[in-house]
């Protein structure tokens, strides 16, 4: 987007008043979104995100600016404006830039921009129709598709130049079932980094659409979930959102470095049941949350956060690394150029254990099987979380019994981690968007089926009997 020569000038303009590090982040990101409802294209939108962010660091201070004017004039003006926050002589300068190469974890076989939109729409319509035909109670069968080809270019005052092109695609199935007692929704949102091959060769979109329809219809006919404390089996895949929300955020340097996380200063300590090994891995081939380099240019890596219950690593970005006296773990991420990067998750999951899902369920006399979870939130200072179950059943005498709706799981991350008493061998990942200080970014969550000995369950169905 800009010449090396201009990059050097902008970096030096940023360094002029004593900053010890300057970084330019350039982004060009064409996006496409399509919505199909009951077999018809309802909306189609194309857009272009385009701009630059410049960051100056001086010890633990950071100043950040962004602009959609990436002309020479625009960038030099921004760098000087930011430099005005510091006062003093320059302590370093840049004279040459070297390009760093990186591994590509997501080479596209069928480039998204080469596939005609008609082909994408065809698959969406098929999925929409399958949901409508699944059951007469499905009145609205929505399918969303979004793709983006985010091209990132980074220059920094260490004299390096990095590039990463991240083609991402995701389809979202949202059926609404209507019955005499109201309406319920189902939801599935498979996605990947790579090309259109994800939906032609890897993932069976039609089957996933049917699962979403099944979820909506089943919830429609389910009873209200009972409330109280009970053992809970959390299903694999999106069940991993529990770890993401309740523990993952508290392991981000964003809160750890400030000492406001429940896991601050706990490295080397037992923070979870010995059955728990948890990993954040940005290098998984073509995964939705994968990145070749983070948004600071660090190569992405596999970080073991918790090994057999012991806290082994945080997720660290450049600035918080300075605060903690630690190196980056390739975790500096941001939604786009208008956000300053900070430590974030990529593909985060609890690793496989030894139990089979059947063994886990059969060990519970009376409890809840939270097969699939919806969204949730957590307070990083207290670790308190809550999330809603999108598909849940009562377990009776070791068997999955009647479906229930309206279940909410609440508790604290610290407690949950310690109360995991069985870990399955059926690890699966699922896709989500994670919102935090540096914006909304694609992440995978994941886990095998697990058993938590006790969680507070909220619902409107009275006491569990």
């Amino acid at each position: 987007m800009i010449s090396k020569n201009l990059a050097v000038q902008v970096l030096n303009a940023g360094l002029a008043t004593g900053a010890d590090f300057v970084e330019i982040f350039l982004e060009e990101n064409p996006l496409l979104s399509i919505q199909v409802e009951n077999g018809h294209v309802k909306e189609i939108n194309s857009s272009l995100q385009y701009g630059a962010g410049i960051r100056l660091l001086k010890d633990l201070q950071s100043v950040y600016g962004s602009t959609s004017d990436v002309s020479r004039k625009g960038l030099l003006k921004l760098a000087s404006q930011l430099a005005a926050s510091f006062s003093g002589p320059a302590i370093k300068s840049v004279d040459k830039i070297t390009k760093k190469r990186n591994h590509n974890y997501y080479p596209a076989e069928k480039r998204l921009d080469y596939i005609p939109n008609q082909e994408k729409i065809k698959l969406m319509k098929e999925c929409s129709n399958l949901m409508s035909e699944y059951d007469p109670s499905i009145k609205i069968a929505r399918v969303f598709f979004s793709e983006s080809i985010q091209k990132v270019t980074i220059y920094n005052s260490d004299g390096f130049h990095f590039e990463d092109t991240r083609p991402r695609l995701r389809m979202f199935f949202l059926p609404i079932a209507v019955g005499p007692n109201g309406m319920e929704t189902g939801g599935e949102g498979p996605g990947a980094t790579g090309g259109w091959e994800f939906f032609t060769d890897v993932h069976d979109a039609k089957n996933t659409a049917l699962r979403a329809a099944e979820q909506a219809v089943r919830t429609l006919n389910a009873k209200e979930c009972p409330s109280g404390k009970m053992p809970v089996v959390i299903g694999n895949g999106f069940g991993g959102v529990i770890f993401h929300e309740a523990c993952g955020h508290s392991l981000e340097a964003t809160s750890v470095a400030r000492g406001i996380s429940v896991f601050s200063n706990k490295k080397g300590q037992q923070i979870a049941s010995p059955l728990v090994t948890a990993i954040d891995d940005g290098t998984i081939d073509k995964a939705w949350g994968s990145i070749n380099i983070d948004d600071e240019g660090h190569p992405s890596q596999k970080n073991v956060l918790i090994k057999n219950g012991i806290l082994t690593s945080y997720m660290i970005d450049r600035l918080n690394g300075r605060r903690m006296g630690a190196v980056s773990t390739g975790s500096g991420r941001r939604q786009n150029y208008s956000y300053e990067p900070t430590s974030r998750m990529t593909n985060t999951y609890i690793d496989n254990g030894k139990s089979t899902p059947e063994e886990i369920i059969s060990s519970v006399k009376l409890g809840l099987y939270a097969k699939s979870l919806g969204g949730g939130s957590v307070n990083p200072a207290t670790g308190e979380f809550n999330f809603a179950c999108s598909e849940a059943y009562i377990i009776r005498e070791g068997k999955v019994a009647e479906p229930v709706k309206g279940a909410t799981l609440i508790g604290s991350g610290e407690d949950i981690l310690k109360n995991i008493t069985m870990v399955g061998n059926d690890l699966k990942r699922a896709q989500g968007m994670c919102g935090s200080v540096s914006g909304s970014i694609p992440v995978d969550v994941g886990q095998p089926t697990i058993l938590v000995s006790e969680i507070t369950v909220g619902g409107r169905g009275g006491k569990l009997q």
């Binding site: 399509i34 018809h40 294209v41 309802k42 909306e43 189609i44 939108n45 194309s46 857009s47 272009l48 385009y50 701009g51 633990l60 201070q61 950071s62 100043v63 950040y64 962004s66 602009t67 959609s68 004017d69 921004l78 404006q81 926050s85 939109n117 008609q118 609205i140 609404i176 209507v178 007692n181 109201g182 309406m183 319920e184 929704t185 979930c225 409330s227 109280g228 400030r258 000492g259 406001i260 429940v262 208008s338 300053e340 919806g374 969204g375 949730g376 939130s377 307070n379 207290t382 809603a388 309206g406 279940a407 909410t408 609440i410 508790g411 507070t456 909220g458 619902g459 409107r460 006491k463």
Partner: protein, 441 residues
């Protein structure tokens, strides 16, 4: 009309797009974070956003770019033509010719720009210092931040409609962590305005610390149904979800709780819900996303549903006039409210406590987006609050869930407080007193 955009309208015409429209938004923002007596983050941003839409063969096409040069301005018209040709949405596609009268007011306040960055930083440092010393239990001031935004908005269309507005606002946000033994709680407050004159630092610091300390020692309460006072913050969150049901699009799609209820009693007689887009505050808006003049009006009067909220397309379907509630942009024109207000009553919050004597005071709910189903109205939410005993706020309650149905909440309103509070969502509500709320401990 700004000549810069004429090439777009020319290109659109060439492609057979007779009706077309562009909106252009330019904004400038500054934000400052303080941590441990230092500026930990300072950021500025300049952004521009050009959105265009047009009608081809009765279908909308839309496109958007942040790269605003001549080539991209012309390219928008090409993309509109491509997107419109794939669009099968049969909803009426209308570009607006203009309202008779617009009530334009200047709400931009130069005061925000006239205060220097250094003075703003000094104010934040002062807040941090006061928060630290306000209470021994404050173990960390986890955030003190400031953000100001200035924006200009222009809407132009092929009928010659040419509307513009500019506005600015800032907010100050602070959050503290308090500790007592092993127990940790957090508290926060946001002050949102476009004038520093209304900012009272003592009050602000006191509110932040109190929000955290008063939660210490919180315990669940026995499960059951409680007479409940709901504070302004939670009431306005519930109100926002409730009023989604008055959006005509949701009625037309049969996903609303208010379908077929026009003119009927949907809520308690104590409930009146107005929309005041022309109210003189930072959210003031005199034209909607389609260029229609906005107006102040009542959606629910003494519990009776008076009108649905319309944009041009949903209004054309029902053969009525739009209510000027279009929101969003591009092909995603939806429906929105500006300054939605639950009309306050006469009693203070304390008088509401006295009215019920014993019950529950609900002050926080978590996970509204996941735990509340806007189409069925059912909710089950993690919550916290306080016991009300002998007409007074007593010990804190935490780690409970509250469950119910949105329709019932507003049917069960016994009294509305006088403590109207504006929230960052532009929705404002006072405290309400409801007959019963199911609490699970």
């Amino acid at each position: 009309m700004n000549k810069k955009y004429l090439p777009f309208f020319d290109q659109a015409k060439k492609l057979g797009i007779i009706e077309s429209e562009i909106t252009f938004q330019k904004s400038r923002a500054t934000s400052i974070d303080i941590f441990h007596s230092e500026v930990s983050s300072f950021s500025i941003s300049d952004s521009q956003d050009l959105v265009a839409r047009g009608v081809l063969n009765n279908h909308f096409g839309a496109a958007h770019t942040e790269k605003v040069d001549k080539a991209n301005i012309i390219n928008l018209a090409d993309q509109i033509a491509v997107n419109a040709s794939l669009n099968e949405n049969d909803d009426p596609a209308i570009i607006f010719k203009g309202s008779k009268k617009y009530r334009k007011k200047n709400i931009y306040n130069p005061e925000v720009d006239s205060v220097s960055v250094d003075d703003k930083i000094k104010l934040l440092l002062d807040i941090e210092k006061r928060l630290k010393s306000a209470d021994k239990r404050v173990s960390e001031v986890s955030s003190v931040s400031y953000e100001e935004t200035y924006s200009e908005f222009v809407l132009m269309n092929s009928y010659g409609l040419d509307l513009s507005s500019k506005s600015n606002y800032f907010y100050i946000y602070a959050e503290v962590v308090v500790k007592s033994g092993d127990e940790v709680k957090t508290g926060y407050k946001i002050f949102l305005n476009n004038s520093f004159k209304d900012f009272n630092i003592d009050q602000f610091v006191n509110d932040v610390v109190n929000d955290a300390t008063r939660k210490l020692g919180g315990k669940p309460i026995p499960s059951g149904k409680y007479k409940t006072v709901i504070n302004p913050k939670v009431t306005s969150s519930l109100l926002s979800f409730y009023m989604r049901s008055a959006v005509a699009e949701n009625i037309q799609k049969h996903t609303s709780l208010f379908e077929g209820k026009l003119g009927e009693q949907i809520a308690s007689k104590k409930v009146t819900i107005n929309e005041e887009p022309l109210k003189n505050n930072i959210f003031y808006t005199y034209f909607d996303a389609e260029g229609v003049a906005t107006s102040n009006k009542s959606f629910v009067e003494k519990g009776v549903l008076k009108t649905y909220a319309y944009n041009l397309s949903t209004a054309a379907k029902d053969n009525v006039e739009t209510t000027g509630n279009a929101g969003g942009g591009g092909s995603k024109i939806g429906t929105t409210y500006v300054n939605l207000v639950l009309k306050p009553g006469r009693l203070s919050e304390q008088e509401l406590f006295e009215k019920i004597q014993n019950g529950f005071y609900l002050t926080e709910v978590q996970g509204l987006h996941a735990g509340l189903n806007p189409t069925s109205g059912n909710f089950s939410l993690q919550a916290s609050g306080f016991v009300i005993r002998d007409g007074k706020m007593a010990e804190p309650v935490s780690l409970i869930t509250v469950a119910g149905n949105l329709l019932d909440i507003f049917k069960d309103v016994v009294a509305v407080g006088n403590n109207l509070e504006l929230q960052t969502s532009s929705t404002s509500a006072p405290s309400i007193l409801i007959k019963k709320l199911a609490v699970a401990g």
